[in-house]
């Protein structure tokens, strides 16, 4: 026994040594793509100098300034919507040759709440359903222009209250016994604004199309019919809205979170539970299976989908919370696309994989200056209410250093929070606040603070999906502020306490890091920069002047007037130093260039769950 034992011990020891050596020496047998990663336009270049692949691998999008997205204007976003609709988003041409792989596997951070009925969980949780469900409108991935999706054409009356929408005919749902029609839209809007819905725009839909009174949805109406929607035919409807609204092609597009189309027929035939277990939509992918917390599998729905036929036969989302797990999945060949945090991207590129970017910025990053409330919550002693203090804060920040240290210089710096240079109401004269500690000190003195005895401020920072650096960037910013005289009480950790406080409008004397998706200025105003009276949500800046401007903008139906109002609001907030603007970031993903020829869509808000019907496979 003892000899056998010794022998076994020796084998075990050798194995242990071999494993240790393998770890210590790197990864000699590690799987790498046979072809090198793309060399073009990538700041982190692969170390290898192999020849380029025969098939062009994914070309990461450059961070060069974008062409003016006309869709950011009121008109193209639905302002005075075109009566002749533009063409649907172009279908990529089929590439010759056999696909190297039939299955597309995507490793992503999981939605924080999972449910196959999107209206029950709301927000970005619905991103995982976008392969399966479509909306009335689509935003062009390059230009942000409104495109028809399930709506084929549309027109709006002069008063902005009557919308006539012609729907695409003969679009089947996945159960194939029903085609999309007016009743499906009405039923869907009733779901979005249902009392149990957690959709961010539920109130919006109720406001414009809901019945009068407290109750919403089919609590007082039948499913599929609404007094505000006239069914001209199964494929044409007229909305008689409760108030004017010109941004319908934005609010009813797949770029926002809520307006996914559900089948009334399938719901009535099978019931809600069956819908939740095996949902259907009209999208190019059909639901196959779902393991909560682990994966969601789709397959190509139709031989010939009306909009696009995906390159891949199946699409599987793997929900991996841990960053290193997603890196391992990509490198082990278990995922073809993976969300990779910025600090690990260099390693991926060095191993021969590529990083691809969204077509448009996906995130806007800034620091909120709390306490700028209307009279009811305003504390006149709060230093944040003093514009000189806010200017001092802005000039205390070295944005270039932040960009270099944390974002690899990939962040597009921002002059005025909420306004991207491509927004029609953006003013090119706006300047990014320069890093000038002396000016900052001087401004504090002008505000009445003795040198070195600046205001006491609470600085909160919490992590948010998509921009994990939100906590890390707080550290140097706090130090810069202390350098010019501020006294900072730093609270760095989770984002939840921040959200709890701003929702309660209790952010007096507080600064906090924040990020959102890439939205038009008007949407940013509504969510961040108006009070609860105007259905604001974050209450980061409330001022009687901007409240008035936004209110007029919202009820105006004149294009030029709306543009002027939004410009004026932007200018006022710029002059008031309403926030500490930082910049815009693109969404980035690690891809296996042996499998993925192209994955570049507008990932705003939904990250790697979006647009995989446009993902192109490498072909032999």
């Amino acid at each position: 026994m003892s000899r056998g034992l010794a022998l076994r011990t020796g084998i075990v020891g050798l194995l242990a040594l071999a494993v240790t050596a393998a770890i210590a020496c790197g990864a000699p047998a590690e799987q790498e793509p046979a072809t090198s990663a793309p060399a073009a336009s990538q700041q982190q270049q692969p170390a290898a100098t192999q020849a380029p692949a025969a098939q062009a691998p994914a070309q990461p999008t450059a961070t060069a300034p974008l062409a003016q997205p006309a869709g950011m204007s009121d008109r193209a976003a639905g302002g005075a919507a075109p009566t002749v609709a533009p063409a649907a988003t172009a279908v990529p041409e089929t590439t010759a040759g056999e696909p190297v792989q039939a299955d597309l596997r995507v490793a992503i951070t999981p939605p924080y709440a999972e449910n196959l009925l999107g209206w029950r969980v709301g927000g970005t949780n619905q991103g995982m359903l976008q392969p399966m469900q479509e909306a009335l409108f689509q935003r062009d991935y390059q230009t942000w222009e409104a495109r028809p999706m399930l709506a084929e054409s549309w027109s709006v009356s002069a008063d902005g209250k009557e919308w006539t929408i012609k729907l695409r005919e003969n679009v089947p749902f996945h159960h194939e016994t029903d085609t999309f029609g007016v009743s499906d839209f009405v039923f869907s809007f009733q779901l979005w604004s249902h009392p149990e819905a957690k959709t961010g725009f539920g109130d919006f839909w109720h406001q414009i199309l809901g019945p009068e009174g407290e109750m919403r949805s089919w609590e007082v109406e039948d499913a599929g019919t609404a007094a505000t929607v006239t069914e001209v035919s199964d494929n044409e409807m007229v909305w008689n809205m409760n108030r004017p609204e010109l941004w319908i092609p934005f609010y009813a597009s797949e770029a926002t979170t809520d307006p996914l189309i559900y089948s009334l027929d399938y719901w009535q035939t099978n019931g809600e539970d069956a819908y939740a277990a095996n949902p259907v939509g009209t999208g190019p992918w059909r639901h196959v299976s779902y393991e909560q917390g682990a994966r969601l599998e789709y397959e190509r729905a139709f031989e010939d989908h009306w909009r696009i036929n995906p390159d891949f036969d199946t699409l599987t989302f793997f929900f991996a919370e841990e960053d290193l797990t997603r890196v391992a999945m990509l490198r082990a060949g278990e995922a073809d696309i993976a969300e990779i945090p910025r600090e690990l991207q260099g390693e991926i590129v060095n191993a021969g994989y590529a990083i691809t970017q969204s077509t448009l910025p996906a995130f806007m990053v800034w620091i909120g200056i709390g306490g700028q409330y209307l009279e009811d919550r305003r504390d006149p002693n709060d230093p944040n209410t003093n514009v000189l203090v806010r200017r001092a804060m802005n000039h205390a920040m070295d944005r270039d250093a932040l960009n270099e240290a944390f974002f690899d210089n990939k962040m597009e710096l921002m002059a005025n929070t909420g306004w991207h240079p491509t927004d029609p109401s953006y003013d090119p004269a706006w300047e990014i606040p320069a890093y000038d500690p002396n000016l900052s000190r001087q401004l504090l003195q002008e505000a009445g603070y003795a040198e070195g005895s600046g205001p006491s401020i609470e600085f909160m920072a919490g992590k948010l999906v998509g921009v994990p650096e939100l906590t890390e960037i707080a550290v140097p910013m706090i130090s810069w502020m202390e350098e010019v005289g501020f006294t900072i009480d730093a609270q760095i950790g989770e984002f939840q306490p921040i959200r709890t406080r701003y929702k309660a409008r209790e952010m007096n004397s507080v600064l906090w890091t924040h990020r959102t998706g890439f939205w038009p200025a008007g949407r940013n105003m509504r969510v961040y920069f108006v009070s609860p009276t105007l259905a604001g949500a974050v209450y980061m800046y409330e001022d009687p002047h901007t409240e008035d401007l936004f209110n007029k903008w919202q009820s105006s139906v004149d294009d030029q007037e709306r543009l002027n109002l939004m410009k004026e609001a932007g200018q006022y907030m710029y002059e008031q130093n309403a926030t500490i603007p930082l910049g815009f970031l693109f969404a980035e993903f690690g891809i296996n260039p042996n499998v993925i020829a192209e994955y570049s869509v507008n990932n705003s808000y939904f990250g790697g769950m979006k647009g995989h019907e446009y993902t192109k496979v490498v072909r032999n």
Partner: protein
């Protein structure tokens, strides 16, 4: 014995009640779940509506009484973050995965720790004994998620033998999370086995067996090991509960859709009903297994009397 079991059962119910109250209170200290679970642009009207639906507008003692009242009837409530899915359904979906993982990790712990524990006792103070101590030290000192990531990197990325994560590759799926979870307990069981074996090896009947020429293999495995098993066996019972309830991090790292993974999501979302249900369930596991071990111990060791 019956009296002992009865008293322990009463104590268990009380313990679960206390735990439920503590968890109920602590969960609410973390803040308002509505702020997390509703989209950022949800209006105040929607926020109030949801708060009312979930009973969060009621005093905390009313919320607790309602929760306990429903709980004893088997109604764990609805998962807020999962769009109102019944929690019993969520748990029923996830629990089997956790039991399979914990069971496999238990087997890993036992199959590594017991033989090595015996061998290092037999080879006391040898290089083998020393190596065993190193193995034990690593197992006790390295966090299981770190062990898990190293295993993932070596066996999935470098060697390509096993999947990195998930539960869709059959038996292969469970090997890495099972080893990562089970390895932590190897050290303790091994040390207990070693000391227990050393004690037995020093007894008169073992010396007599050797003097009478009994083969060494038979002496060790038939006479020593069986007698030395009582202490490690007791401990391994408790480990079963630890593995069942301690898989939270490993399930997250290996995308293993079990209760631990669900617990992490629930904590992140402040989904109070789910947090409470899982913690109470974990507590019940722990208490039940403790009780079972105590009872089994009494049967295994006739000297124990309650």
């Amino acid at each position: 014995m019956q009296r002992f079991i009865f008293l322990r059962a009463i104590q268990s119910v009380l313990a679960i009640l206390v735990i439920s109250a503590v968890v109920f209170a602590l969960a609410r200290v973390t803040g308002d779940p509505v702020a997390i679970l509703l989209p950022e642009d949800a209006s105040p009207a929607v926020v109030e509506q949801v708060r009312s639906k979930w009973g969060l507008d009621q005093p905390i003692y009313v919320q607790y009484a309602r929760y306990i009242g429903n709980f004893v009837t088997g109604d764990f409530g609805e998962a807020w973050a999962y769009g109102g899915v019944p929690i019993t359904e969520l748990i029923a979906r996830r629990l089997p995965n956790t039991i399979v993982l914990a069971g496999f990790a238990w087997l890993i712990s036992a199959s590594i720790a017991l033989p090595i524990g015996v061998m290092v006792a037999v080879k006391k103070d040898s290089a083998f004994d020393w190596a065993g101590k190193v193995v034990a030290l690593i197992g006790q000192s390295a966090p299981s998620f770190a062990i898990g990531l190293i295993l993932m990197w070596v066996f999935a990325v470098i060697l390509g033998w096993l999947p990195t994560s998930g539960n869709d590759a059959g038996f292969k799926s469970i090997i890495l999370p099972g080893v990562a979870l089970g390895y932590y307990n190897v050290a303790a069981v091994m040390r207990l086995t070693r000391s227990s074996m050393l004690e037995v090896l020093d007894t008169e009947y073992v010396k007599l067996a050797r003097i009478k020429g009994m083969p060494e293999r038979k002496v060790i495995w038939k006479h020593c090991f069986r007698n030395a098993l009582i202490v490690p066996f007791t401990y391994m019972g408790l480990i079963g509960a630890v593995l069942l309830t301690g898989s939270v991090v490993i399930e997250t790292v290996f995308v293993w859709p079990g209760l631990g993974d669900l617990a992490i999501d629930a904590i992140r979302n402040r989904d109070f009903p789910v947090i409470q249900s899982i913690v109470i369930l974990f507590a019940a596991f722990y208490i039940f297994i403790n009780l079972a071990v105590d009872v089994a111990y009494a049967y295994l060791n006739p000297r124990i009397r309650y």
